[in-house]
Symmetry: C2
Subunit: 395 residues, 2 copies
C-alpha cells in the first residue's frame, strides 16, 4: 500500500469541484464529487435520534446500492428543520440531477453547520449551476469545513488482481459535534470493483475501530455521515470475501478511515495535542475499545494532558468506569514511560515525563493483563481555547 | 418539614469533631461523627470498578446493619493502594475503636484526596487521639473538603409519630471526580427510629433521583460514598412501610439528598453558574432522568451557558443522543422563555435571553410530549477556570 498526494478525485473516473455559494461570508461552502458512472455505495450515519434531513435521505439511497454524486454544503446543517428541510434536501438532489444529467435517485446530499436554519435554496441552486464536472478537486476538502483549522485528506494505492486500485478520503470535523457548527463528515472514493453489499459490510466493520473510536467532546452530531463510492473503473475483477484481494482492500479502507479519524481528533476544537490511547489485555476487543475511548474522552485526562501532567490516577479511574470486571493488575505507560505496574505506582521523574508531555503527540498505553482484547482510541486535549470557542460562539 | 441551621450533630445523640492532623498543609483534614449508641446504617457507593480500600470496607459494614462512628480524612484517598491500603483502613478503625471505646466493626472510615498514596498512619493515629466526643461539630464539614470552595450542610426537622425527628446532612465534592483530589462524600445523621433494611431501601431509591443526577465532569470517583446513620433517639415508634410516617421520613431524606446534591453541583470545579434541567413527557421517569443528565453533562451545553448563549441546538442534539425513541415534538424553555415548540424554532430576543443567562442559576425545561416520564438533573457551567484547575494541578 502506497500513500500518495492526491484529492478525492484521484481514483479513476471521479471528478470534484467546489464554489462559494454565499452560505458562508466568503469561504468555499458548496462542493460536489461525481463519478463518471454509477458507483457502488456504502454509508454509516449518526446514531443520534435527532438526525438531519440529508441523513434520513441518504440512508435510503445507500440501501438502493448505487449513487453517482455527493453534494455537500457547509454553514447550514439542515437539521431540526421539519418537512421543509426534507423538501429542500430533495430539491437539492433535483438541482444536481438536472445540472449534471444524473438520475435524482443517484445524488446523495450532505450538510453541516447551524441547526434549526433552512437551506437558502436560491443560493444552493445558483451555486450548483456554477459547479463543474471539470473542476478543481482540491477545493472540495475546503468547502466542507466549519470550525476545522485544516483540510483532511488521504490517498492510497495498492495492487488488487494485477490492477492498480486507488482510494481517496476527505473529511471534516473538529469535534464529534460542534455547537451549532456540527458534524463529522467523511467521503471516500475508490475505483475498485466491489459490490455494494460487501462494501457496506466492510465499512460498518472498519468504522467500529476507526471513526467510532475518536472523541473530542463526547457528543454525537445530528449529521454524522461517512459515504464510500466504488466505481469499478480500476478494472479489477469484483472483490470476493476470503481472498487476498479482499484483505488488501480491507487494509486500504482501514488505513484510509484511520488516517481520516486521526486527523479529526488532532484538529479537535481548541486542541494543542493529539492523544492516542491503546488498551491491551482486556476481556474482548470491544471492551478494550470502550476503555480506551473512556480514557481519551475524560475531561480530567484531557486537561491533565493539556497541563503536561502525568496524572495516572485519572487514567486508572477512567478504566474503572468503563470496565465490566475488576481491573486488579493494571500497567500504565505514558509517553513510553511506565508509571504503574501490577496496579502499583512506580517511581518516575515527574519533571522529565512532564517535559515529554509537551510534545504534540501523546501516547497512553494500558495493559489490563486479563485476556487478549485490544483496542485504540484517539482524541485531543481540553484547553482554554475549547471553552473560548464554545462559550463565545453566538448561536 | 422545617429547614434549620445546624450541624451533622444536630440530631439527638450525635457528636462530631475535626482536627488538623497534618495531611493537608494547614486546614482541617480529619473528622469524626459519633452516635451515643449504635445506629442503623445505610450506604451507597461508587460504581467505579476501581474502588478505594475504605469503600470495600464500608460496603461490608453497611451489610451488617449497624455502625456507631464515621471517621473521614481528606488529602489522601487511600485508592489504588493495594493490600497496605486495606491494612491501613482497618488500622484506622482500630485507633477509633480504642480511643472512643467503640467496637471496631462499628467504625466506618472514608477517605478523599490523592490516588495512589498510602495514608500516613502516624499522623492518622495522633489525629484520632486528639479528636473529642465533645468537639465542635461544625468543624467536620470543613475537614472533608478538597477542591470545594464552600462547606455543604443541611438540617431538617419534622414530626413523626408525635416526636420531633431531626435529619442533618453534610457533603463534599466539587466534581463527580477530581483529578487526584477525587470524590463525592455525603454523611447523613438522623435520630429517627427506622430499621437498617428500610433505611437502605429508601436511600437507594432516593439516590437515583438526587446524587446520581448531578454531574460536573462526567467522571465517577473511586471513592464516592453516601452513609446514613439512624440512632432512634427521637423516640418515635419504628417507621413502617406504607404509613404516613414513612412518607414524611422519605420526604425528609429526599429533601436532604436533593439539597446536598444541588450544593455539590453549584460548587463544581470552576463553576460560575448552577444549572437545573427538567425533562417531562418522556416514556419513563428513568429515561427522563437520563436525558436531563445528558443535557446538563454536555460540554457544549455547559460552555454555552458559561457564554450566556441560548443555544438550543446543543440541547436538542443531547436529547437525541440519550433518547431511545424519535423525539419529534420537542419543547425547550431556557430561563422560562420558549425557544422551540413542536420541534420548531421560535422567535425570541437573543439579547434579552442572553442577559437572563447571566444569572447565577439557569433553568432548562424540556417537554418531549410522548408520555408522563419526568426527571431532573443538576450541574454547572464549563469554564476557563475548570481547565485551569485541572491542567495546572500537579499530580
Amino acid at each position: 500500500m502506497i500513500k500518495k498526494d492526491g484529492t478525492i478525485a484521484s481514483p479513476k473516473g471521479f471528478t470534484a469541484d467546489a464554489v462559494h455559494a454565499g452560505l458562508k461570508y466568503k469561504n468555499l461552502d458548496l462542493g460536489i464529487i461525481i463519478s463518471e458512472i454509477p458507483a457502488q455505495v456504502a454509508g454509516v450515519f449518526t446514531k443520534n435520534k435527532v438526525c438531519a434531513a440529508p441523513v434520513v435521505l441518504d440512508r435510503t439511497l445507500v440501501k438502493s446500492g448505487e449513487i453517482q454524486a455527493i453534494l455537500c454544503n457547509s454553514a447550514v446543517a439542515n437539521a431540526v428543520t421539519g418537512d421543509q428541510g426534507m423538501i429542500n434536501a430533495m430539491l437539492t438532489q433535483k438541482f444536481v440531477a438536472k445540472k449534471f444529467n444524473i438520475k435524482e435517485s443517484l445524488v446523495a446530499v450532505c450538510s453541516t453547520g447551524v441547526i434549526g436554519v433552512q437551506l437558502p435554496m436560491e443560493k444552493i441552486e445558483t451555486g450548483i449551476n456554477r459547479l463543474s464536472e471539470n473542476g478543481q478537486a482540491d477545493r472540495f476538502a475546503k468547502a466542507i469545513l466549519t470550525t476545522d483549522t485544516v483540510t483532511k485528506t488521504v490517498t492510497l494505492t495498492s495492487v488488487i488482481n494485477d490492477k492498480t486500485v486507488t482510494m481517496s478520503g476527505v473529511c471534516k470535523g473538529s469535534g464529534m459535534i460542534h455547537p451549532n457548527m456540527c458534524t463529522m463528515l467523511a467521503f471516500i472514493t475508490t475505483d475498485a470493483n466491489i459490490s455494494h453489499e460487501l462494501l457496506q459490510k466492510l465499512l460498518s466493520e472498519v468504522t467500529e475501530t476507526t471513526f467510532n473510536q475518536i472523541t473530542v467532546d463526547g457528543d454525537t452530531s445530528t449529521n454524522d455521515t461517512v459515504l464510500v463510492m466504488a466505481n469499478a473503473m480500476a478494472g479489477n475483477e469484483a472483490i470476493k470475501e476470503k481472498t487476498q484481494d479482499y484483505e488488501i482492500f480491507k487494509a486500504m479502507l482501514f488505513e484510509t478511515c484511520t488516517i481520516l479519524a486521526q486527523k479529526i481528533a488532532a484538529d479537535g476544537e481548541g486542541a494543542t495535542k493529539f492523544i492516542e490511547v491503546s488498551v491491551s489485555g482486556a476481556p474482548t476487543d470491544e471492551r478494550a475499545r470502550m476503555i480506551a475511548k473512556k480514557i481519551v474522552g475524560s475531561n480530567l485526562v484531557k486537561t491533565a494532558i493539556f497541563g503536561a501532567d502525568p496524572n495516572w490516577g485519572r487514567i486508572v479511574s477512567s478504566i474503572g468506569q468503563a470496565a465490566d470486571f475488576e481491573p486488579d493488575d493494571i500497567l500504565v505507560k505514558i509517553q513510553n514511560e511506565k508509571v504503574l505496574e501490577h496496579s502499583t505506582p512506580l517511581y518516575f521523574d515527574k519533571a522529565i515525563l512532564s517535559q515529554k508531555l509537551k510534545e504534540k503527540e501523546v501516547m497512553i498505553e494500558v495493559d489490563l493483563n486479563k485476556s487478549q482484547g485490544y483496542g485504540k482510541a484517539w482524541g485531543c486535549d481540553l484547553t482554554y481555547h475549547y471553552v473560548e470557542i464554545n462559550a463565545t460562539y453566538t448561536s
